[in-house]
């Protein structure tokens, strides 16, 4: 049976590098836990749980991006848009931990590497792009969708750049140069980011239309009607 392996497996990045990133992950997630607490009220808890389960499910849905290559949602952009950066990081971290501990997806020793890339880098990058984009784009369905789409693409490429950094520090070149590998990783993840952008924009605009109060990025404001005066 074909193995469905999605994240960094065992022994691809050396021990010292994995340990350093494990420490970075612990510090970052700890900081997010403290910060998330401030904005977390009971009303948000079920939404955060549902978003986490949705990210888990969506990560299983590999879509083709090129011949023989697939991609899947990372979820950082979705979590950032719905829950904000702090809770968003925790949401993706829970998914990655469950995948590594129960589903043998992503090495336990690589947990720090995977959490830094997909939870910390992707979520914070997505949130930054989203905040900037929403300053210039109108808060309409199209405007929010476009902002989320852009945030998702940048977040996925940034997460893949995180892996390139980790591989440069603690990986061993085999069969291809680091330069060729970097180009391949970043290029493939632009395509995956487009897929992530479409899915995330669809999901976030669906929530924004039904319950704009549940979209953190909108900060409690309803979507403006495209034709209506502000």
């Amino acid at each position: 049976m074909e193995a469905l392996a999605l994240h960094i497996p065992t022994d691809v990045i050396d021990g010292p590098t994995s340990l350093v990133f494990a420490l970075i992950a612990v510090l970052a997630v700890g900081w997010c836990t403290v910060a998330a607490r401030r904005g977390l009220d009971d009303r948000l808890v079920p939404l955060a749980g549902l978003a986490t389960a949705f990210v888990f499910a969506a990560q299983m849905l590999n879509f083709p991006v090129a011949a023989g290559v697939s991609g899947h949602l990372l979820g950082g952009a979705l979590a950032a848009a719905l829950l904000g950066p702090w809770l968003g990081v925790l949401c993706v971290t829970v998914v990655i931990a469950i995948q590594a501990l129960l589903f043998a997806d992503g090495a336990v020793t690589a947990l720090g590497l995977n959490v830094v890339n997909m939870a910390v880098i992707a979520t914070f990058t997505a949130y930054g792009v989203l905040a900037l984009a929403l300053k210039v784009l109108p808060r309409t369905r199209v405007g929010v969708g476009a902002a989320v789409f852009a945030a998702a693409i940048v977040s996925v490429v940034a997460a893949s750049a995180g892996f390139v950094l980790q591989f440069w520090l603690g990986g061993e070149e085999v069969g291809q140069s680091l330069g060729a590998m970097t180009a391949a990783i970043l290029g493939t993840h632009v395509l995956i980011g487009i897929g992530e952008g479409v899915i995330t924009a669809g999901a976030v605009t669906a929530v924004a239309v039904a319950r704009p109060d549940l979209v953190h990025a909108l900060r409690g404001t309803a979507l403006a009607r495209p034709a209506a005066a502000r």
Binding site: E2, N62, S70, H72
Partner: protein
């Protein structure tokens, strides 16, 4: 809120238990780049040299490894159930964790009423 949460949960379970069966089986972006230089047949490395050859077995493995159920003969049923149970477990675990986090936040605000 209830309607929204129920709809979201149903969508999530359908994605995890049914739509996931139609997901692409090709290696993902990371894996395909780590496989560059190797020849593969049905997902197994058969020749050449690439980064992924260095990868060892997963430290834990377990009955649900690779989103299946090793104790079920039916692979499709196993994959579907693993997806559904995984999503439900994720929902329960994260809701529990976030609930504890929200509850912890309130502790200093609520005056000690002696009931501990």
């Amino acid at each position: 809120m209830k309607k929204f949460l129920i709809t979201g949960t149903v969508v999530t379970l359908v994605l995890a238990g049914f739509v996931s069966l139609f997901a692409s089986a090709s290696p993902d972006g990371l894996e395909s780049v780590l496989l560059t230089g190797c020849e593969t047949t049905d997902g197994e490395i058969t020749g050449g040299s690439c980064v992924l050859q260095a990868a060892g077995e997963h430290e834990i493995g377990g009955a649900f490894a690779d989103y299946g159920m090793s104790f079920l003969d039916n692979e499709i049923l196993g994959a579907s159930l693993a997806g559904i149970l995984g999503a439900l477990f994720t929902l329960a675990a994260s809701t529990g964790l976030f609930w504890l986090l929200a509850r912890g936040r309130k502790a200093p605000e609520t005056a000690d009423d002696g009931t501990a």
